[in-house]
């Protein structure tokens, strides 16, 4: 019988969505052109050659070793690409993804990547052509809502701020804007440099859609612990308590 990973507890939508994000079995909601993703990332001009930090592995005469036989290099590693990044800011007002789950998604599903998790941003670093592919997956999938999530290399401030009146996540550098046609447009790259052309990222999710797809527990969505005076723990809390107690009593050796 094939093993099915038990990624996360809980039968409410948040637990289900968290499992989906970790499994990588995500719904594709849009198709942003590769060249547009590359432009927003801002590391190389679309169509330009990849910069490299070493020759292709095949030309390097690497020593024979069992690990190299077991692990096939990613396309970026094989080509000798430099390591670049993409970084996301997800609003706490029901953005579909949240930093730890972008990291779990990356760590489980994206070979050769290095996720970093903070409160207001989440970064994944990888070889350049690999990170471009991983970024496109994130952009296109239900992990992302183009109004509540945006790519921000710097000045990331916004995840915890109230939304703009039009429902967009606050961005000091205004890298995206809501067009009159109801589509969100990318107008600056990750670090705030204006793009040559506006990039249509498509329509934002409705509030109901965002609430349905979100992975964040909130009192006005799916609460994790009920409400004041009426506590009801989600299964995630029970699992967490169990883990914390074992770790407190026996460190990492729960014999």
């Amino acid at each position: 019988m094939a093993y099915t990973p038990q990624y996360y507890p809980g039968s409410a939508s948040v637990g289900i969505n968290r499992r989906k994000h970790m499994s990588g079995n995500l719904e594709k909601l849009r198709d942003i052109a590769e060249a547009d993703v590359v432009a927003i990332m801002g590391h190389r001009a679309p169509g330009a050659d990849y910069s490299s930090t070493h020759p292709p592995l095949k030309e390097m005469g690497e020593p024979d070793c069992p690990i190299r036989q077991i692990v096939a290099p990613t396309p970026g590693a094989a080509a000798g690409d430099r390591v670049r990044y993409s970084q996301w800011t997800d609003s706490m007002y029901f953005a579909p993804s949240i930093p730890y789950f972008r990291s779990y998604w990356g760590a489980i599903n994206c070979k050769g990547c290095d996720p970093g998790t903070l409160s207001g941003r989440q970064i994944i670093e990888a070889r350049e052509r690999d990170i471009e592919a991983y970024t496109k997956k994130q952009y296109d999938s239900e992990m992302t809502d183009v109004a509540l999530c945006s790519m921000r290399g710097c000045t990331v401030h916004g995840h915890s701020l109230r939304l703009e009146e039009n429902g967009m996540q606050f961005d000091m550098l205004a890298r995206t804007e809501l067009g009159k046609d109801g589509n969100v447009y990318g107008i600056k790259d990750q670090v705030g440099i204006p793009l040559d052309k506006k990039i249509n990222l498509g329509k934002p999710m409705s509030e109901a859609e965002a609430k349905k797809r979100t992975t964040i527990f909130r009192f006005d969505g799916v609460p994790m612990g009920g409400k004041i005076g009426a506590r009801k723990y989600d299964e995630a809390v029970e699992a967490l308590h169990h883990m914390w107690e074992l770790r407190s009593k026996w460190g990492y050796r729960p014999e």
């Binding site: 915890s160 703009e164 606050f170 994790m224 967490l240 914390w244 407190s248």
Partner: protein, 570 residues
């Protein structure tokens, strides 16, 4: 029901903070829903919206010709988009009426904060008994209350940097060193009565009776000198200077007061006592990779920090208030000065640290927890000291706090960084558990659980370091083996896992204080520290930390160590 414990203490601060935004939006015909609206109109008014930023810009303009080069210019920020795209909100010092700009809480702009740290590093505690034994047993000198009074008069002349014994010596200007003083304290009431009151830290007057008895019992018949060298000395040198400066002046004073030979070998005994054997430094020196001498913040234990703060003797009936003041002192020192400047640099750490002592947020979460626990267990220090209690209280307080952030988006916006929220939620959980159980390990367990609950709820916590310090942290509670744990009272800024993260160390000190305030202990770790910082001659107000920070921010506080006396007028 827990609902009755919600006080929303932060509402007053939020109304003050967002008043400008609400007023401007109303004038534009955009009606803000209220502090609970999840959307707003961002005004993007830039740095000019803040009085303090305007002052900075105006001053920078004045400096242009003088400096001959560029300086402060907020328009170089990020491609010409300056700070102030959202409202630059002011900060209310918790439980006070002081409302100041964020800039006023950077220690460079706040003389009270500087003085708090100066008061620590310029302090050294030196026992008198060892020196008296040398005088009596080795030299056959008589030591009486009269000779001690004479000695203290000479010492308060010499310690600021004045000469005794030797001829043709340079001296320091009394106006530059007027904050320097030495007082003694003892558990021996009969001796204390014989000493001129100007030289005594009177434990019976300064502390509530039960606390004075605890401290005197702990000190016994021993006698100690609370020495505060001039602020200007440690600002020119560093904390490692304090014991050297004081030891030199102590020895010279003994020679003068007891008519000793200046070069006899017995002086070495006095020097050894003054520099080593009878000395209590405020903090330990650090290992080479973080090399600092003693009396620098990195070696300051949480227990000592808790004892330096004096709120416990003026408001002992309110242990939450006591610990919140310790959190404020610790956050400022450990986060803003130690990690934020000694270890890192720049301005970001202030933003993290202020969350713990402004806008009554931590106050609200902590009082909620304390009331909840009191209701359930019947008072302070009444709950069983068990992991189940830590689990119940930390989960409740964290969920409560999370709900407030969610229900009041302006509150979330105020603590816009995850590290701020993590510190506040975990501190409230730790303080609650501390006061309820009177046990620092239970409290620490509550802290760590809060971190995990928070991370699991929102899928985010603080910055990278929280992965190690907080998610791995539960493994170092309930253990006293030195490589696995330590009583929280004895941990400090250089405890291995605690050596890098903002938003923790001040809160740990607050938790230590909460444990002992909940137990109605007179001190948390060391009675000598508690007695020394009761000295009314200190410049910073150690009884009300947050109020004093507010005074500093409002430019109402006069610090010591000023050099203007010997410089041309501006």
């Amino acid at each position: 029901m827990a609902v009755k414990h919600t006080k929303k203490l932060f509402m007053k601060a939020l109304n003050k903070k967002f008043a400008t935004e609400q007023k401007v939006l109303a004038s534009k015909g955009v009606i803000e829903e209220n502090l609970q609206g999840q959307k707003t109109g961002y005004l993007r008014l830039g740095p000019e919206q803040s009085a303090r930023k305007r002052e900075f810009m105006e001053y920078a303009k004045k400096l242009e010709g003088k400096r001959g080069m560029t300086g402060y210019n907020p328009y170089v920020h990020c491609g010409g988009i300056p700070l102030g795209q959202r409202q630059l909100v002011p900060y209310k010092l918790s439980s006070t009426e002081y409302v100041v700009e964020g800039d006023d809480l950077h220690f460079v702009n706040n003389p009270a904060m500087q003085q708090m740290w100066d008061d620590i590093r310029r302090t050294i505690i030196v026992g008198l008994d060892m020196a008296h034994e040398v005088l009596q047993k080795r030299l056959g000198k008589e030591v009486t209350p009269e000779t001690i009074n004479n000695y203290l008069e000479i010492l308060n002349h010499a310690m600021p940097g004045a000469a005794v014994v030797q001829e043709h010596m340079v001296e320091t200007h009394p106006g530059l060193v007027d904050d320097c003083n030495v007082r003694i304290f003892t558990g021996d009431d009969a001796l204390a009565d014989e000493i001129d009151e100007q030289y005594v830290i009177d434990l019976n007057k300064l502390f509530p009776a039960d606390q004075a008895e605890q401290i005197k019992a702990a000190i016994g018949k021993t006698t100690w000198q609370a020495i505060h060298v001039p602020t200007i000395v440690v600002r020119s040198c560093d904390g490692g200077t304090t014991s050297r400066w004081s030891a030199m002046q102590l020895c010279m004073t003994f020679i003068d007061a007891y008519n000793m030979c200046a070069g006899e070998a017995a002086v070495a005994d006095l020097a050894y006592a003054a520099k080593h054997a009878a000395v209590l430094q405020m903090s330990e020196m650090l290992p080479a990779r973080r090399a600092r001498g003693p009396n620098n913040p990195g070696g300051l234990s949480f227990g000592f920090m808790a004892d330096m703060v004096q709120t416990s003797r003026v408001r002992p009936q309110d242990p939450a208030y006591v610990s919140l003041n310790v959190v404020a002192a610790g956050s400022m020192l450990y986060d803003q000065i130690w990690l934020g400047s000694y270890m890192s640099g720049g301005v970001g750490f202030t933003q993290y640290a202020t969350a713990a002592y402004t806008n009554d947020v931590l106050d609200d979460f902590s009082y909620y927890g304390v009331d909840f626990a009191n209701d359930k267990y019947g008072g302070f220090n009444k709950a069983p000291k068990t992991i189940d209690v830590a689990k119940e209280l930390a989960t409740e307080v964290t969920l409560y706090g999370i709900e407030q952030y969610e229900a009041y988006p302006t509150l979330l916006e105020d603590h816009f960084g995850g590290s701020q929220r993590a510190a506040v939620l975990a501190a409230a959980s730790g303080i609650t558990t501390a006061i309820a159980t009177g046990n620092s390990q239970c409290a620490l367990a509550g802290w760590y659980l809060s971190m995990l609950v928070h991370k699991e709820a929102w899928g985010r916590l603080g910055f990278f370091g929280y992965d190690l310090q907080d998610q791995c942290g539960p493994t170092n509670v309930f253990s006293y083996q030195s490589d696995e744990g330590n009583p929280l009272e004895l941990r400090g800024a250089n405890y291995p896992n605690y050596a890098m993260n903002v938003g923790h160390q001040g809160e740990y000190a607050g938790i230590v204080s909460a444990v002992h305030a909940g137990r109605m202990d007179a001190f948390a770790c060391n009675p000598l520290i508690k007695a020394t910082f009761a000295n009314p001659g200190l410049v910073f107000d150690w009884t009300n930390i947050r109020d004093c920070f507010g005074k500093g921010g409002a430019r109402e506080f006069r610090a010591a160590g000023d050099r203007s006396l010997v410089m041309p007028a501006v």
